[in-house]
Symmetry: C2
Subunit: 515 residues, 2 copies
Amino acid sequence: MSTATATETNTLPAHYGRLLELARETQLIGGCASMLGWDQEVLMPSGGIAYRGEQLALLAKMHHEMNTSQAFSDALAECESDSELTSDPHSPSAVNIREFRWAFDRRTKLPASLVEEEAKLSSEGMHAWKEARAKNDFSMFSPSLRKIIDMLRRKAECYGWGEGGEPWDALAEDYEKGCTAEWVASVFTPLRERLQGLLDDVMGAAKSPSNAFNEIELPVEDQKRFVKMVAAQFGFDFDRGRLDESTHPFCSGSHCNDIRMTTRFHVANINDALGSTMHETGHGLYEQGLLAKYIGSPMGDSISLGIHESQSRMWENQVGRSESFWRWCEPKLKEHFGKDVAGLSFDDVYGGANVVKPDFIRVEADEATYNMHIMIRFELERAILSGDLDVDDIPAAWNAKYKEYLGLDVPNDASGCLQDIHWSMTSMGYFPTYTLGNLYCAQFFEKAVEDHPGMHEEFARGEFGSLLSWLRGNIHEHGQRYRAAELCEVVTGKPLSADPLMRHLESKLRPLYGV
Amino acid sequence: MSTATATETNTLPAHYGRLLELARETQLIGGCASMLGWDQEVLMPSGGIAYRGEQLALLAKMHHEMNTSQAFSDALAECESDSELTSDPHSPSAVNIREFRWAFDRRTKLPASLVEEEAKLSSEGMHAWKEARAKNDFSMFSPSLRKIIDMLRRKAECYGWGEGGEPWDALAEDYEKGCTAEWVASVFTPLRERLQGLLDDVMGAAKSPSNAFNEIELPVEDQKRFVKMVAAQFGFDFDRGRLDESTHPFCSGSHCNDIRMTTRFHVANINDALGSTMHETGHGLYEQGLLAKYIGSPMGDSISLGIHESQSRMWENQVGRSESFWRWCEPKLKEHFGKDVAGLSFDDVYGGANVVKPDFIRVEADEATYNMHIMIRFELERAILSGDLDVDDIPAAWNAKYKEYLGLDVPNDASGCLQDIHWSMTSMGYFPTYTLGNLYCAQFFEKAVEDHPGMHEEFARGEFGSLLSWLRGNIHEHGQRYRAAELCEVVTGKPLSADPLMRHLESKLRPLYGV
């Protein structure tokens, strides 16, 4: 495997050095914006909001100008015509040039008028959506959504899509390069069918795990220390990152040596804080695992939202909801919280982290049913963009799918098709990355356990280094050397499939529910 | 009093609107840098330091380019030739144009080579100073200091100074526009003579306040809540600012609606945390009192370091060490800390906040002796720059002055002429702003009490609004309408003098020490 070192850029041609330097300057500004965005979410006083908006708008403008500059374009073209740099398609230079080109073309394909229209519709749309959700009235949102969909179809036309493809493909590229609806459907369909079988069995089971663990109240300050301990145990480096609080947990930062994660706390339900923290820690470990020497270039950047989600789900679900993790964590919990949790058995905490219960709300869903929420949204947005589903028919179609896949009667649109912000902010093609993440995650984890058969015994001792090393070497350190689907084949030897995720869910849930 | 409103800029000529817009963009970038600097001091993980340096360097470069751009220069020149804008010298437009010109000329007077030389010498100097201080060896620092002084003399030549003036004047302008060594000396000399008389009496006194208050240990978390309560009581708006912790307390922010203060805590000595907090709150109240409509222009900016310090010292000393403040604060202290402070009398806390004790270290000095430390530095740096004092003779000259003014035998250079970082980072002309701040502060406060004779009774009830309103109306809201010395005359009707500060110190310390 060839890697560029700090000195390599000195021996490489001047035009490539120029390209990297321009990209690095652009990234410096992007990182400033990211830090100020973090500050805004985490601790900025409310009075700062208007001016912060102006600061971020100016940085975004500068970032865009730098990213689309003639100097950058010229340097990129010069590098592309230099076969020394591109002959080995997986060399750092070839990877960087390939992905710089993809991004540059993408940025320059949209007319400024459309970019402006999207910003305006997004702002209007989120406002209308908030009102509609609060008043539980889809008709208050539908005019905005209709305009958004019309704009998105034109946006898709500007980008274009592959032969035999469809508009959805063009939009999904922003989140998952090279992803098509047809391919997603080919993986999702078997997943849905098998998942439905599992859920039917689980829902019909006579036995179910105790929910007691999710109902105890624990002091927030103690929870903070506990989840921070778990993140550190997983390998998050607090000299190169932080964990703070925000309403909606997220992970950002300006580069691999300064990663900012957030989580949230409720007095009742430490599982929410713990799950959020382990999830964001997965994102954070990925970002900390990118190589500092590649900062500012695709070789130092994460691959896609799906691969990012594979890392967050890895630590949240494959590790954090595993029996072996709880073998280590349950005694720690008792040591830390004392009498408040003394009455909980191992089965209470391990089972409590794995309760399955179909419900209307995606963000509160368990590990298994979560994917149903995503698949419903994917099927709907695909039909919306192709014109097969009219805006006015969304609520009925939504409710029908919730009945069919999860057996639920959606009580109202606020708990139904108005629950997510994504479409209102013009994001279509985004949702599937959540389930793609779960699929990649399960497939990677199966391979990691195959490579390190003793991994679960290590988890039970609180040792997570083997998994982290495996992820570092197989995924993190590659940056964007491979695209998502290719990475999966390189790492696991197989294309992405529903099998590993289903094996994972079946082998865990059937014993817990005695089905 | 004429003020520019948001609409006024629409009715004013286009070239003035352009000037303000360019300045506002420049300020947006400056504010980003300021926020990232705050983040670095307060919470950034250590791993982020190198990249943050790159981010700040790029923002500084952009800021400088915007600040010295041809577009800005052209707009400024056009505005200057428009007599409508400049005819009333205290109108917002005239003030902005005057101070934009001052700053633009100042920035463009130095050759790039000198700017670079200064940055290099500052970095080298601070490094050498740290080593020299740690090893208590002035000779390790003197070669750097010699180079710095040589550079500063050339820098002063580039700036130039007024007739009858001296190099020191040119350098001091960066911190206190229009300030000359001769003028400073004319205020400092009577101050020093009278202060020495007072200190002689105090040091010879048979009676002295109890130091018990400064020795009790109080939980840091409780201290945090307490000092925050005091800052809020003074009027600091926590919806437009924050109070955090850092090793060296400071106040920054990106504009009047987002002010970031820090303080520090020790288990023993809440007076340190309280004093630091009240000091920074004074800076913070000044910044929050600048008018949002003027953000990005001199009308929305503070006047000078001396005036800024007058505000911090106002709340730290005139309020925070006053008998009336402690009439309110002492019961609050008992309510908050309970049994830990139950044994302290009113005299213990009020007296404890006003102990006078000459010592070697400026940053630990009390309200009275602090000024001696400053005057010693001013006299020395003036002599150094004029060539009257050679670098090798600094330690002896330093020690002689400490003996003469404070009666102290300096034990070594680490506790003597190596204690401050300022000269090593090429700052000469900065020190006097601390004592100028104390002088302005006392003179302003005397006038405020004259205008509101019941102010001290209000303090005793925990009411600080009259003072804040007075400061807002007389100082904060004017931005840079007046320069420091002029402001003093406009507000108090008299030029700056040592009398108010001496009256303040005499009337407080003589009763406390029974002299």
